[in-house]
């Protein structure tokens, strides 16, 4: 991959949250810097409470940093219109974050609608996206989110994120609550979309195996700091006990699987 100027960059970003009465403030993001190139798929891995979700909320200005700069295409997002910025970025939430009172089609078409697309164009786009995430438009378009399975909901959520043709997609533990089969299928499908549509993706996950399988590059977060970043191979050479421990899990799983599931029964 050719490294040009980054599409998204965090420069010395710091963010704390007030702890409320009697609770000390929490430094959720502590001097974080990283860059994501156009077309790159970055996974941010860390335990819960390591500050990785805060990174995403900073990226689409749901919250503002205490200090540091976040740029998209070189422009500080603090200088951009927050509403327009969010409409230009696709977001996939943990559990979907679908609007329970809106049909599948209305959920998917919401950002185009906010942008003022004509209804016919929205309808066509919705059908196109449903096909893209492998949902049958005819039988699912008018359903409510409560009438879908967890995997279907997450497919709708991905379709909604892509509706207004964003260049950037932010995903917060998108496949975490799904069963392993669905999770694998959805991950593969998303990876394909990422490549075909030329997206730039930041995905938050606590599952290193998922990160290794889907992402081009991985950043490891601990207590608000990025302790290591690089490709899976690069991480393997990092001298950090936590990073090592994180990588041990998928390695061990792969070894066990190879042992227990020989590709050729005769060997």
């Amino acid at each position: 991959m050719s490294v040009t100027s980054p599409l998204i960059a965090f420069e010395h970003v710091r963010k704390h949250f007030d702890g409320g009465r009697g609770v000390p403030p929490v430094l959720a993001v502590d001097d974080v810097s990283f860059a994501v190139a156009s077309g790159e798929f970055l996974a941010i891995v860390g335990a819960s409470g390591s500050g990785k979700t805060t990174l995403l909320r900073l990226a689409n200005r749901l919250i503002a940093p205490d200090s540091g700069r976040i740029t998209i295409n070189g422009a500080d997002i603090a200088d951009l219109d927050a509403i327009a910025l969010r409409r230009s970025i696709g977001t996939v939430f943990q559990g979907g974050g679908l609007f329970p009172h809106m049909s599948v089609a209305d959920n998917i078409g919401i950002t185009p609608k906010l942008l003022g697309w004509p209804p016919a164009q929205i309808a066509a786009r919705v059908d196109e996206l449903m096909a893209l995430v492998r949902l049958d438009p005819a039988s699912h378009r008018d359903r409510l989110p409560s009438q879908l399975s967890g995997g279907q909901r997450q497919r709708v959520s991905v379709a909604r994120a892509l509706a207004a043709r964003p260049r950037i997609v932010l995903m917060d533990e998108p496949f975490g609550a799904l069963d392993p089969l669905t999770r694998d299928a959805l991950g593969e499908d998303y990876r394909r979309l990422h490549r075909e549509l030329g997206l730039t993706t930041i995905m938050i996950t606590h599952d290193m195996a998922e990160a290794v399988l889907l992402a081009d590059r991985i950043a490891v977060m601990r207590e608000g700091r990025i302790v290591a970043q690089g490709t899976a191979a690069e991480l393997a050479s990092v001298d950090d006990a936590d990073v090592d421990a994180l990588l041990q899990t998928p390695r061990r799983q792969a070894d066990r699987l190879r042992e227990l599931l020989p590709r050729n029964a005769a060997s």
């Binding site: 689409n60 509403i83 969010r86 939430f93 679908l98 609007f99 919401i110 950002t111």
Partner: protein, 520 residues
């Protein structure tokens, strides 16, 4: 006569379009105003904990004020406000009837709407709110497209509660001059017409149920996201509003309005005046059940055109006089004072409805009591009952001082129940009214007042300032002046308390007056 063949059902039914229409009108207007104020306030307060606390606290306090008192308070408030606008901007408005009732009821409706709107909005999953932001909604879009639709079922539940409260409480708007289903209840209570009371209660309950069910359609429709239910509910509300507005649009309003206070004699006299006006070809309607303090102001400001009051009541309540003068002097003073307020004293009807101390004849004879002076010696061991105002009126202070009266206990009672109570020995003495027919019915004795401590209470016809020079009105009512003696009025009152409608008794009264004239 069985309960169902009672002719009073028909009588009650006749009033239904008028009472129900007015009841629905004032309730819907109050509810609409309440929503119009509460919803934006709730939206404003949802992210401001201090404002939220203040609003909910205020609404809760309003809720603890008894409905009747809240309605009554709005009348003088508006009256003062109308005087201010008249002075500053050159226009006044009627502080009587619709306006005070609607404002008080609107205030009453606020708590459930405020509370449920705030609760409904706060109950939304924060993840959904963040999703609304993340897909690029402005705060306004988030409110309209996500928060309001999701909170709608809870908000509608609050609106339903408010609707039921307002419709129930609207029955209390009768004493401030707003016609409502409460007219049945107030009139029925005064004339012991239990059919009316029952009818009024049932009608307002049925109305509340219907409105509640129509709103429930919208609520469950919102909950189950069923367009059909919501549409049906909205059609129902529209029909209700249309039905409420229809009669007022078709009815021409240029009639004389005859006022009546809240007791049987007043209902009869108002019916009599109305009948006389109608007989003279003047359109006339009755506004019944007005509070004793409301009615004079209503006349003064022209909200009603004519009513019957009593000299002693005006002397004490309107002139704020505590001294007691001989009848002729008092009348002359009163006439002069009323003229200064441009209220015309057309004349006396011929009888007096004074307060009087009354006790069972047999008991009085046994104790040798014939006058209030005799009673004073026994009063320390006796209990007395009176209506809601007597014990706080200046003539009560004058009376007890003049005779050195001190009773063991004082009780306040619905006037119609006092006579039965004293006859049954539940109280020893009552402060009754001289024109009451029940005095004869229960064989009670009216005690003499040798020191003339009780002022005269001559029944007199008063005309509104705007009717000062209305000769048609004067001509229609003059034949009644001086024609009703105390015995006739007592019998009329007795008839009213034994299931005859006020209109029937008025007709009887007019025939009686004519017969007497013919005999002369």
């Amino acid at each position: 006569m069985t309960l169902w063949s009672d002719p009073r059902w028909g009588d009650a039914l006749e009033h239904l379009p008028d009472y129900l229409g007015n009841h629905v009108r004032v309730s819907l207007a109050a509810l609409a105003l309440g929503l119009l104020v509460s919803l934006p306030l709730a939206l404003l307060a949802r992210h401001r904990p201090r404002l939220r606390g203040a609003l909910l606290g205020f609404a809760s306090i309003v809720q603890t004020v008894p409905g009747l008192a809240l309605l009554a308070l709005f009348y003088p408030l508006l009256l003062a406000f109308a005087a201010l606008t008249a002075r500053w901007f050159g226009f006044g408005f009627s502080a009587f009837g619709f306006l005070p009732a609607m404002l008080a009821l609107a205030l009453y409706s606020m708590l459930p709407v405020l509370r449920n709107t705030i609760t409904g909005l706060q109950g939304i999953d924060p993840a959904i709110l963040e999703a609304a932001q993340a897909v690029g909604m402005t705060p306004r879009q988030s409110l309209r497209r996500v928060e309001m639709p999701l909170a709608l079922p809870v908000i509608m539940a609050g609106v339903r509660t408010a609707a039921v409260w307002v419709i129930g409480t609207a029955t209390l708007s009768t004493p401030v001059g707003q016609t409502s289903l409460g007219n049945y209840i107030f009139a029925g209570l005064q004339t012991q017409n239990w059919v009316f009371v029952l009818f009024g209660c049932a009608a307002s309950a049925v109305l509340a149920l219907i409105v509640d069910q129509v709103l429930a359609l919208i609520e469950t429709g919102a909950q189950r996201r069923s367009r059909l239910r919501v549409t049906m509910g909205i059609i129902g509300v529209t029909l209700l509003i249309a039905a409420a507005l229809m009669p007022s649009l078709s009815r021409a309003r240029q009639a004389y309005v005859v006022g009546a206070k809240t007791f049987a004699e007043q209902y009869i006299l108002a019916a009599l005046l109305t009948q006389r006006l109608q007989a003279a070809g003047l359109p006339a309607t009755t506004r019944e059940g007005l509070g004793s303090s409301v009615i004079f102001n209503a006349l003064e400001s022209g909200d009603i055109d004519v009513y019957v009051d009593y000299s002693g009541t005006l002397w004490a309540n309107q002139m704020h006089r505590t001294d007691i003068k001989p009848r002729a002097e008092l009348l002359a003073d009163l006439k002069a004072a009323l003229a200064r307020q441009h209220v015309t004293l057309l004349g006396e009807l011929g009888f007096e409805n004074a307060y009087a101390l009354v006790m069972p004849r047999a008991r009085a004879e046994a104790l040798g009591i014939r006058s209030i002076a005799d009673l004073a010696a026994h009063a320390g061991k006796m209990s007395i009952a009176g209506d809601y105002e007597i014990f706080s009126r200046p003539e009560w202070a004058a009376l007890t001082q003049a005779y050195g009266l001190r009773f063991r206990a004082q009780r306040q009672m619905q006037p119609d129940f006092m006579y039965a109570a004293v006859a049954a020995g539940e109280v020893d003495v009552i402060a009754g009214y001289t024109s009451d027919g029940l005095i004869a019915k229960y064989d009670l004795l009216v005690l003499d007042d040798p020191k003339h401590a009780i002022p005269p209470y001559d029944a007199m016809v008063l005309l509104a300032p705007k009717r000062e020079n209305d000769s048609a009105l004067r001509d229609a009512l003059t034949p009644l002046l001086g024609k009703i003696d105390i015995a006739t009025m007592r019998e009329a009152n007795l008839r009213a308390s034994s299931n005859q409608s006020a209109a029937d008794v008025a007709t009887w009264l007019w025939e009686k007056i004519n017969a007497k004239d013919a005999a002369r």
